[in-house]
């Protein structure tokens, strides 16, 4: 699947459409309803693609851990593989890393089929396995030196220490580091060979919110350096905060894929404008008459679906025009939790408990 972002010639709404390369689709603007055609580029040039996965399948006995999934990761993007525990994230990422063997499917990294050419790829990737623990009795610096010696291309250890903000811990033994620092060292280890692609399997799981933030900052800085990041997570905030492209995986299937905006747009409820403590009981009817999707939430609260940003102003001007008073307003954006709920009928955060 490829995506194409289109601006509606009529109402200027920006929409992302998905299709197969070469397809020409008839589309309708979700806002103003005008019809048009969208053509997708014929060839996906592998130049821009870091990872390609075709029809990947992995079976454990009766369990289909990964069920015939295909996707690609573009160079320079943070790709988030989002799904609850047991969805098949680690299985997928470890097959891509050649740690596990697929039951079926083809995987290419930087254009090379890993089945035959994984050794050529090794120098260009860096990985942080799930729940990684390095050697307890080596210091941070020794750890980085140890893992870097295997590679032809090596980053100066001092540079990594500075970039990862580990300078003040370089002489500490790994086992004495906090959970957040251990993960930071883990990410640092995956960078010792200055890789093009970095795989991070649940890098912030089990960390407290502050440590999680620190790991997020590190991942953001990787994107800024132009690295491709393949991130797996079951935290939707993490995917929302970091990812350029998100694939939602559930029970071994990719159930939705696209940019955050696209996913929210397609599967979320859109944004909601909430008018708090509205003084006029007829306000809901009035707004509905004017074409807004308004609903009473009780207590005089009204929620109005917002699908383009000017709508907020329109609603508020209408209220002022009608002279309807209220206490305050609140705008609530849709989030991935709702996307997941919409797609599976289950809450992502609950599936993880």
């Amino acid at each position: 699947m490829v995506e194409k972002i289109v601006r509606c010639p009529e109402c200027s709404k920006i929409t992302t459409f998905y299709g197969n390369p070469g397809d020409c689709l008839s589309v309708t603007c979700p806002k103003c309803g005008i019809k048009g055609k969208v053509t997708f580029k014929k060839t996906v040039t592998t130049e821009n693609v870091a990872i390609e996965v075709y029809n990947l399948k992995k079976v454990y006995g009766d369990l289909i851990a990964v069920n015939d999934i295909s996707f690609s990761v573009n160079k320079g993007e943070v790709f988030a593989f989002l799904g609850p525990n047991g969805a098949g994230k680690t299985t997928t990422v470890e097959i891509i890393e050649s740690i596990r063997k697929p039951t079926a499917g083809v995987i290419k990294i930087l254009g090379k089929d890993i089945k035959t050419s994984f050794n050529q790829v090794k120098e260009k990737i860096g990985i942080l396995p799930q729940e990684f623990h390095s050697f307890e009795k080596l210091t941070v610096r020794e750890t980085l030196e140890y893992f870097s010696m295997f590679y032809k291309k090596r980053v100066n250890i001092d540079d990594i220490l500075d970039v990862m903000d580990l300078r003040s811990y370089e002489k500490m033994l790994y086992k004495n580091l906090s959970g957040g620092l251990k993960q930071r060292v883990g990410v640092a280890i995956s960078l010792v060979n200055d890789p093009d692609i970095v795989f991070l399997d649940e890098p912030s799981t089990g960390l407290d919110p502050k440590a999680r933030r620190e790991v997020w900052n590190v991942i953001s800085s990787l994107r800024n350096k132009g690295k491709t990041v393949f991130l797996t997570t079951h935290y939707m905030e993490e995917a929302e905060y970091l990812a350029d492209h998100i694939a939602v995986i559930h029970k071994g299937k990719i159930i939705a894929e696209g940019s955050l905006e696209y996913l929210l747009d397609k599967y979320g409820h859109g944004s909601l404008l909430r008018i708090k403590k509205c003084k006029d009981p007829n306000a809901v009817e009035m707004l509905k008459d004017k074409g807004f999707e308004a609903e009473s939430e009780g207590n005089g609260n009204i929620s109005i679906k917002i699908d383009y940003k000017d709508k907020v102003i329109n609603v508020l001007s209408q209220l002022r025009y009608e002279g309807i008073d209220y206490d305050s307003i609140e705008i609530r954006r849709s989030n991935l939790e709702e996307v997941f709920l919409h797609l599976t009928g289950a809450k992502l955060s609950e599936e993880n408990t």
């Binding site: 596990r100 063997k101 090794k122 799930q130 990684f132 050697f135 080596l138 295997f150």
Partner: protein, 369 residues
């Protein structure tokens, strides 16, 4: 294989080892403590019974007295052998460790000897060369009894002589027996546990998974680890030998076969550790499994006491244990200098090592499922 990678990996292992007080203790301090303790406890102590078969071809008053004296030592349990039995085949068939033959005319000749100085009597002592430790004790008992009798009959002239049917020249004591056993035990412990740690902890911690994605070959990884295990085995052995030589004044021979057995043992036990690591996932369970293999083996395979003192069933078990051959091989190579036994045991140890190390390599899961 890249020597630099191997050297760096070795160096990292060395640092980890020096910083791990536990491993340091088990590979260095523990064997040394044992050598000190057991050396002190066992020097000069002996209260075990040794079996001794006696064939009395004379059947006179004098020979009966001799047998009675042997019994009275309280250390020997005497089993008599009928005089029409062929000794050579009897020893072979019944797997007799020690047997003496009192010749026909024993009593008569001793009487003659008190006036005819040319007459002597020879008691033959058949012994199994694989049982040096016990034989040594029994030999010295018989010998002192004969000395005593000679003293009483003729004021010290050697009328009764003891003829050994196997060559035993040196005088060994318990620490000579014990020290090679401690070397075998220490190599066993550090290699089994080292290899289990690499295969369970490193797997659980994701280090093995990470290595699979890095430009290091399996051969480099194994070579580097084995190099380090060999280093550990030699360091432990050297320290144990130094204590033996300087504290217990032992004569220890550093021979090529000793080195060979140490190398083979390191591979052997690393292989066993790999096999355990294949079947046990949790680190703690794996350590328990390692202990469950190591400890019984240590006690059954003649580390602390001679296997021929165990009951026959246990002896049978001992002889299928690789550690038994390592212990015997090291003893013969370092202490007894029995070349035939050294070679025999070394070959067995090498065969065991090949089998277990290759099985370990084959069984180890290099990839995840």
């Amino acid at each position: 294989m890249r020597p630099k990678v191997i050297a760096m990996d070795f160096y990292a292992n060395l640092k980890i080892w020096i910083r791990s007080k536990g491993t340091l203790f088990w590979s260095l301090a523990f064997p040394v403590i044992l050598i000190f303790l057991f050396g002190a406890i066992f020097s000069g102590m002996d209260d075990v019974e040794y079996s001794l078969y006696v064939q009395d071809l004379d059947d006179s008053d004098m020979s009966e007295v001799f047998i009675e004296v042997l019994k009275e030592t309280g250390v020997l349990s005497i089993e008599s052998v009928k005089d029409d039995i062929n000794i050579t085949s009897y020893i072979k068939d019944e797997n007799i460790k020690r047997l003496i033959v009192i010749p026909e005319g024993f009593g008569e000749d001793i009487k003659k000897a008190s006036f005819d100085t040319s007459v002597t009597v020879t008691v033959s002592f058949y012994l199994d060369p694989g049982e040096q430790q016990s034989n040594q004790v029994v030999k010295s008992i018989i010998f002192s009894i004969i000395q005593n009798m000679n003293m009483n009959i003729s004021q010290g002239r050697d009328i009764i002589k003891l003829k050994e049917v196997s060559t035993m020249t040196d005088d060994f004591n318990f620490i000579d027996f014990f020290l090679p056993g401690i070397i075998g035990m220490t190599i066993m412990q550090s290699c089994i546990y080292g290899s289990i740690e690499r295969n369970t902890k490193y797997r659980k911690d994701g280090i093995l998974r990470k290595l699979l994605t890095m430009p290091i070959t399996r051969a480099e990884w194994i070579f580097a680890k084995m190099l380090f295990m060999l280093f550990l085995s030699f360091i432990s052995s050297a320290l144990i030998i130094l204590v033996g030589v300087f504290v217990w004044d032992m004569t220890i021979n550093i021979t090529p076969f000793m080195i060979l057995i140490i190398i083979a043992s390191s591979f052997l036990f690393s292989g066993i550790g790999m096999i355990v690591g294949r079947f046990v996932k949790e680190e703690e369970t794996a350590d328990t499994a390692g202990g469950a293999i190591g400890f019984p083996m240590m006690f059954l395979a003649g580390t602390f006491w001679p296997v021929d003192q165990l009951d026959p069933v246990m002896q049978g078990i001992a002889k299928v244990l690789p550690l038994y051959y390592i212990n015997e091989g090291l003893r013969n190579a370092m202490i007894y200098m029995n070349e035939a036994e050294t070679i025999r045991n070394s070959v067995i140890v090498i065969v065991f090592a090949l089998v277990f190390f290759i099985a370990g390599l084959v069984l180890t899961k290099w990839h995840e499922d």
